[in-house]
Symmetry: D2
């Protein structure tokens, strides 16, 4: 085990710098948390990131894919390692009671005024990446290669990674040899969780409009009732998973919203369904999406609709494929740096991310991992009582609030370690 001792010694030296900047990072984290910004509106965040990247000596480019920020640090020959943090927040009304809780509101893309909250921990991602970059700069004599720091907007709507790629990320900046990133989640703080192979589900968000013909509630014979049409569709959509997906394949089809009409005695003109499809296999995904479309269209015909339903793709998250070799290598480095017990294997997560688009576009491996944000004692108690789902606020909850420490320290160390593993 000399190698890992050597490694550990190496990263332990590097980690020394963290004690000097921890206070500043903590303040940064709380400031970001108090000032969340919606997808593609991350102007304040981007400016702060850009300022700090500049201070660290990175070449800084802003406005990449809208509000994205790219920092490049060239440090001699060697591999280029892409380190990614996403930085948008959510239209959630924070209920954490934290003294640095958000009171922000913003105008959402549909024009409505909404509260805003870092309910998915992207503030922690930004803080940890800036911390890791500081450590890497501090330790630049110990490695050679190029660090490509990617601060991505609009992950929550599955649009930011693609926007940065479309804006020339791979052409305008050094091409990466590996893509690394991490996400905070409701697990014991101090630990990281590794997934290999298909790791996070593909997710498609669809808006489906079904058209009936409205009329008076007492005269259904003169109408095509979209309430019945949409309801029959929802029931029929249940058969996609129950009948068209093999028991040992994985897919979820959720109709998150159904809306039609506003009065009891008026049959409305149309109905709207918002549908979310999760899958772990492109073949399954395509079959499921085709089945959804087939069923929606057929149910419109069954109702005698005059007009075809309309489908709008709201979001599209790719399947996250963690490269098995890259993951094994990274996990080895993390085990050496953080200790065996702090690195656990996790099954695939029924959640979605667009981080994988970078590696796919570049044709290089991705390794993306989770790091815990929940007080370890509290987490173990919840596990012991089989009450994690009830007790530990998950991402997107108005109560989501990572413990700042040891979460921040773990996130910085994990990212630094992984980067060094690939830069070495």
């Amino acid at each position: 085990m000399r190698v890992s001792n050597h490694r550990r010694a190496g990263v332990d030296d590097v980690f020394g710098r963290l004690d000097e900047i921890r206070g500043d990072l903590t303040a940064l984290y709380k400031d970001l948390h108090a000032h969340p910004e919606l997808s593609f509106q991350e102007h304040r965040t981007a400016a702060e990131v850009a300022r700090r990247l500049g201070d660290l000596g990175f070449e800084v480019t802003t406005g990449v894919g809208g509000t994205g920020v790219v920092g490049v640090l060239r440090n001699g020959a060697g591999p280029t390692v892409l380190l990614r943090a996403d930085f948008d927040a959510l239209p959630v009304l924070e209920q954490t009671g934290l003294d640095y809780a958000s009171r922000e509101r913003a105008t959402s893309s549909d024009g409505s005024d909404v509260p805003v909250m870092h309910a998915c921990g992207h503030d922690m991602h930004v803080t940890c990446l800036l911390g890791a970059l500081d450590l890497l700069v501090d330790a630049r004599s110990r490695w050679s290669g190029t660090v490509l720091a990617v601060f991505q907007p609009a992950e929550e709507i599955g649009a930011g990674a693609q926007a940065m790629l479309d804006d020339g990320l791979l052409e305008r900046f050094p091409r990466p040899d590996v893509c690394l990133g991490q996400h905070v989640f409701p697990f014991r703080s101090g630990a990281v969780g590794m997934m290999t192979g298909p790791s996070m589900s593909a997710a498609d968000g669809l808006k489906i409009t079904m058209f009936g013909r409205g009329g008076h509630g007492s005269q259904p014979q003169n109408t095509v009732d979209p309430v019945v049409m949409a309801s029959a569709t929802v029931l029929r959509l249940q058969t996609v998973v129950s009948r068209e997906v093999a028991g040992d394949d994985t897919a979820v089809v959720t109709v998150g919203s159904i809306r039609a009409g506003s009065k009891e005695n008026i049959i409305p003109e149309q109905a709207e369904l918002l549908v979310n499809v999760r899958s772990f296999d492109e073949r399954v995904r395509e079959r499921v999406l085709a089945a959804v479309r087939r069923i929606v269209r057929a149910e419109a015909v069954a109702s005698g609709a005059d007009r075809e339903p309309e489908f709008e793709q709201l979001t599209r998250f790719p399947l996250l494929l963690n490269d098995p070799d890259a993951t094994a290598r990274t996990a080895g480095a993390l085990r050496a740096a953080l200790g065996e017990k702090s690195v656990v294997d996790l099954p695939p997560a029924m959640a979605s991310e667009d981080v994988g688009l970078f590696g796919t576009a570049a044709g290089v491996p991705t390794c993306y991992w989770f790091f815990g944000g929940t007080d370890a004692v509290r987490f173990q108690e919840a596990v012991a009582e089989d009450a994690v789902a009830e007790r530990i606020p998950a991402n997107h909850s108005p109560h989501f609030a990572p413990e700042v420490e040891p979460t921040l320290t773990t996130g910085v160390k994990a990212l630094t370690t992984a980067a060094l593993e690939w830069l070495d």
Copy 2:
């Protein structure tokens, strides 16, 4: 046929006065049309009605059942005849293009700002009743008895008649021997339509809230999906009419609105259905309502809901039972006064009214009829092309616009004639 000649001569004399006041009534109608008021907000209308009643020599009481107005004219011994006009308007944006079209807006009971329009012709009802009262006053030497003029608020929400009764209508004022009223509708102007027996459907408006348990769209197993629950309920509710109502009974169950959720990847907490039930028989009505409740509750159980669904009665219109004898008598009088061809028999209407509550509460017969508001030529053309539903804007349409004449004249004459028939 001496009797009807005699009658005709009689009312023809009475009708002479109409020529003197037609201009004023027309102006009144246009003024009311331009200034519609929502249910229980009919303050301006009530004030105008009260003022005119006073001028006609009626004892006037305002504020009966909220904004209702009652006028009493005692004219010697004899029967008391209740003449009813409803006077509220609807939250509809007028699109008639008339020069006296409404531009009014108001705050609805749920706090939202809405347009207001006399889209159901209650302005015509008020005008005709005031006109008829004028004629009756003018002809007071020809009849004896008491006229009880009831200007009712809030018919559109099925609440005004009950509110007036609850406020002592039958105790505070002379008790009627018969209840008469009329409604303008899309039929040839100049004609009246009589219905006998069960004439307008009972209507129940229900708000049903079904409770699931929300969660992430990717984790349905941790939720109770209210979208599926409500959709299954809508489909199952179709069986009430298809399986539990005899083919030769009449009922309609419409789910006018279904609403649950707002994001594709969040399973919401609950779903709301707005349901409208129409029936023509109390036994059928009770069976249908019981079946609706049974199905809603069972579908909640089928979904594994933790909480019972909630039912709120939004509106409740009684079945309108036109007393066959009273209707035959009134129809005879109308035929004599307006001519055989101007009085037609109509089948029961799948529409609802609360006018019947007065007669039911008083234990006396009701006779309620329709009078046409559509240009006769235009109407016949539409009939000839089987296009009435497409061509003639029906009540509640933003295009609903009765021809002022001969509609107004017919309405005044019909009401006057019917009143005289019962006061004679």
Copy 3:
């Protein structure tokens, strides 16, 4: 009331003959009841009918439309009156306990061995018609014209009337001026019930085969599940009546049978639905049948079926339209002959008959009535306790057993009276 007295006197004379033949008719009825025959297998019945017609002096033709028998009695100039009795029985296991109960069995059209019972009273129809013909022959000096006695096979499957027409009934025999017939039903014996206008529903029997793709129950993804497909179809078919038929129109859509598969772990290849559609209006009927087909096809598409569903028309009964004038005339004669209290008006029946095809094909009026078969006291008790449906076995019940008297007497008198009314 001289006219009806005259009539009564006239038919009373004619009825005298009945006392002489009642014993023979009763024996005939019990013999027919004990020896029921399935549709188009009525050989024994036809032979008995033909023999008796010959004895009465009729020109007899057998084998009309399969097993039908036609008797013609020409008695001078005058109208031709078609008198119709149907004579087939049902595959029902008799449970009446009568000493003349059927013990017959037969081979049904699908090859299976089934019990046979006169569970719809066609034995009574035959007996009454033969009795009436006897009286008419006996009274031939009192009338002139032609009696066309039609003993029809296969009414139960809606095929016999058409078969007789297709076999030249109108061309080979005197063309009728009116078509008369009657049906025994669970009402007080001694009474007849008249319906006017649309009187008995049109009925369409459909066999629908929906094709999936079978496979192992654990591998639904490799199949198209016809159980789900057919079940979704059944639910969707409920919307035909609930949404596509006006509340004041009449239609019933019943799926009387659904059958698919035979093992729990094998997904079958196909499913079969047997559907019955009742209607009272050709326009409604066509809309309903079109909706059934549309829904079935669309649900097959929703399931991803490779093959179109197949539709087979099993039975088709026309709407029975009783001519209002002919019915009023016939009812008048029956009232005169049987007494006012013995003739009641009935609403349309949600049951079906092919008797109307004769009049429709000939372009002449039809009058078809019901006559009661239940002991009057027992019937009134059931009415008083609102338990007719529970207490009085209806047609097609294994317990259906008309009281022989006064049912037989009433049936003979009614038919004789009606015939004389039109022959006079």
Copy 4:
């Protein structure tokens, strides 16, 4: 790798005997194939097995758990190894066209006459086990311990293993230290497939009877329609998998049969569903079964049924848990004996077996594997064209026909090798 060389050398010596008996085994296999017997009717097969066990020197007990046969061979101190073969056939009409195809028919448990076929390869299982026992007897000097040969009846209905245990298998015979068995399946002949952990699904077969109230198809209001009730239930049951099972858990709920009614115009009294539930986790199984019961009961309530549905457990197969250590050890031995390429790892199979009951009851590990029965070239071609499901007849197909060789040789070798591994 000396160990495996040693092993291989060892088993290769043992395998020599196979050349002497292969002809006899092949004849036995074809004879068994030509004479299949239904579950618990395996009298001829049992007699043949017993005779051969006796010839090999086993202590033989017949009639264990009905028609089961147990053979014991004590060969000094050491572990007891249970080797299991099932020997019942299926009610399938063989369509293989083989010259030794079955022409047998039998009376099934419901009294009907059915064809019988070894459509699941149990004839091969019996042959391989008898061959392996011969080799073990022949090589008895090379091992010590006890061989417990279990020839089990009625695997197809999930009843035989339990019947043998209930009949004292563990008490009357030497208690096993490990349970081994194998199943032929549509994979390349010559290969064996190993599964570890949860390997074959639990399966529950349910018969569900739902009670309505029958009546005439035109009078649904007097009935509780079981066709609608059952159809709604089938659709709702789809939500069990779609909403109540996590995307990454595994369950299948199939309604293999729905049956209600037989005429289009009669609403039947009841409906019958046959349901198959597959699962890989007892917790998931219990949740699914509870959900099925909840939904069925609630849908009966939704229909207004007077009587609770009835549930009958038709079959119950346990989850097959292959002990990971025992599987690893056995797999190692098989790799050594058959070659690395001939032993593949397989994912869990969505199929069911009751073999696991022996090990569970005894509290000892089970290792159960598959061996291929399809010509390797043909199989690879089907794989290459992604057409295995279409081209290669699977178990229970009327075309299921394992290649006799090298299937038989592989099955004998695998069982012998595994037994020796545990007897060593």
